[in-house]
Symmetry: C2
Subunit: 335 residues, 2 copies
């Protein structure tokens, strides 16, 4: 790859990714809730990627990336470091290509994510996220075994694959006879955000795109405000295990800088409320990182009145224990 090659995927790249995923990824529903519409005074459409294969959108990007590899290199296997959703996506993508997947995963990753990656055929290499550097461990193993590292977001094929979520939202909005005024995307490294921003603005240049991050992990919001990739401290903890990055990606940020209207931030407690709301009113299981955009809507961080606002419920991989704990702390019933 030459240094001047533009790594931004185009709408054509995303359409090609959609063709590759046809019949493998589900076209998840774009759901509407009368209660949510009445509560906000707008029309809220939720893309339920928690219902996607592997329980999150991550399968889309992983499959697209693996499918684009040189077959000879691919046959040696792939490796990733991931808190879980990318791991499950990559394990499934590898299995569908008949190759091995090795996952470097934090020792304290949610048990369900570890178990699911194993169930999907991956080999798990645990590490201590507070004392070890996953890139070093992963790089060493990849070198030793000739494995190709598949990054979770900072890769054009990953971004293009995640963009198929936006392509579907656009098509589904058209089928419903509406055009979104705004699209909210839960944001970690920015792959889903960048891919969906490209896909959505291709047909709907006026749609406002926002990324949504947890409190203390607002590296995208800060970077957008500063106009440059800004690293944040990762000392603080957050329940959003799938949204914890210190800095936007090199591939993703230039796209997001150009196409986003801004970054929104929500607290862990607001996310807990959103998970309870999704349980009580939407009947959906949403993981903390998957509920950030819904929390932004419920708290009024984004004005929905008289507008059509789309949000991606990006994943549903949460343990029974954490879910039960969130259910037991009061929540949206009283609102």
């Amino acid at each position: 790859m030459s240094a001047i090659r533009d790594l931004r995927p185009t709408i054509t790249d995303i359409r090609k990714a959609a063709e590759r995923l046809d019949g493998l990824a589900f076209r998840t529903p774009l759901l509407e809730s009368v209660d949510l519409n009445e509560r906000t005074g707008g029309r809220i459409l939720l893309k339920a990627e928690c219902l996607q294969r592997t329980g999150s959108f991550k399968f889309r990007g992983a499959y697209n990336a693996v499918s684009q590899m040189d077959p000879e290199i691919r046959s040696r296997g792939v490796l990733a470091w991931s808190s879980g959703n990318h791991a499950q996506g990559l394990a499934t993508a590898a299995r569908l290509h008949g190759i091995s997947a090795t996952i470097v995963m934090p020792k304290d990753a949610p048990e369900i994510k570890v178990a699911n990656a194993k169930r999907l055929g991956a080999t798990i290499v645990p590490y201590d996220r507070y004392n070890e550097i996953r890139e070093e461990i992963g790089g060493r193993i990849a070198d030793e075994h000739g494995l190709t590292i598949i990054p979770p977001y900072d890769d054009e094929h990953i971004v293009a694959g995640q963009g198929t979520v936006g392509l579907e939202i656009d098509a589904q909005c058209q089928e419903m006879g509406t055009e979104p005024d705004a699209l909210l995307l839960n944001c970690s490294g920015g792959g889903l955000t960048a891919g969906c921003a490209v896909a959505m603005t291709a047909n709907n240049p006026a749609t406002e795109i926002y990324c949504v991050e947890p409190e203390f992990y607002d590296d995208h919001a800060q970077s957008l405000a500063n106009g440059t990739r800004t690293e944040i401290s990762t000392d603080k903890r957050s329940i959003c295990d799938s949204l914890l990055t210190p800095i936007p990606g090199e591939v993703t940020f230039p796209i997001n800088k150009e196409l986003l209207s801004g970054g929104l931030t929500v607290t862990d407690d607001e996310i807990r409320d959103a998970i309870v709301y999704a349980f009580e009113r939407l009947k959906l299981v949403v993981e903390p990182g998957g509920a950030a955009s819904l929390a932004a809507i419920l708290t009024g961080r984004i004005d929905c009145k008289g507008r059509t606002v789309c949000a991606v419920l990006s994943g549903g991989n949460i343990t029974k224990e954490m879910f039960a704990e969130i259910m037991s702390r009061g929540g949206s019933s009283s609102r």
Copy 2:
């Protein structure tokens, strides 16, 4: 109504109901799970009526029934007795027609169902389900205030409305290029079962239709075996609060007797496992009565190998407390 009038709704009645519900009821998704397919060796398609307006399919029948009333009589208001889902459906149907809804509801009905019916504008009259007779209480109030009783299942318009679930399953299967070999329906009084049986067999006469009931409340299964409406004891308790009827309906049973291949029964523990499975793998919130068909699939009560089997996840109205309790008892993770 004359005694010789046939109260069985036809496929035409169901299509007309679908027209009335267009834009009011959601066309809920027919979902597929790779894990469920692999586990059963078949293709399992789940109609997610837990995602329906009011959290269950009951809105469909209630709205269809209210919309068919004489406007003068309707304006005085409607009344129902219900454990909750019919109550929510009727309250919403009444609100959409600008009339009042009075609901006679057990004192021990799930709190969320009472709260939701109130939130939807209904007036709640509580009764003691072990010492009082709801029909007497409801009848007296209806007489006093000129209200029309809308039964939960034993009514041709209710059956036709619930049948729109089957109409959508048929259309969605066609869109997916498949034809169901079997359709499983959670069964209480038999309204959903009868409506869907009529709708499905109109286009797919070879599709096997089964009702699924909780242990101890298998009045339909017993009635089908005996060839006649058979009353069961209601001494035993069950977690399936929405499936507790002592005897099949007078309108529903003749239809079900003609069109059903049989009745399946599942235990409360099997239903709890199915709720956990829906949480972990499907990312859906399903109430006990809504999970019976899924339990029948997971336990192998119905052979799915090499077949396309559809099931309706008929509702998702379960309290946080009960859900957390079910999550905490072990369950499908270990399977």
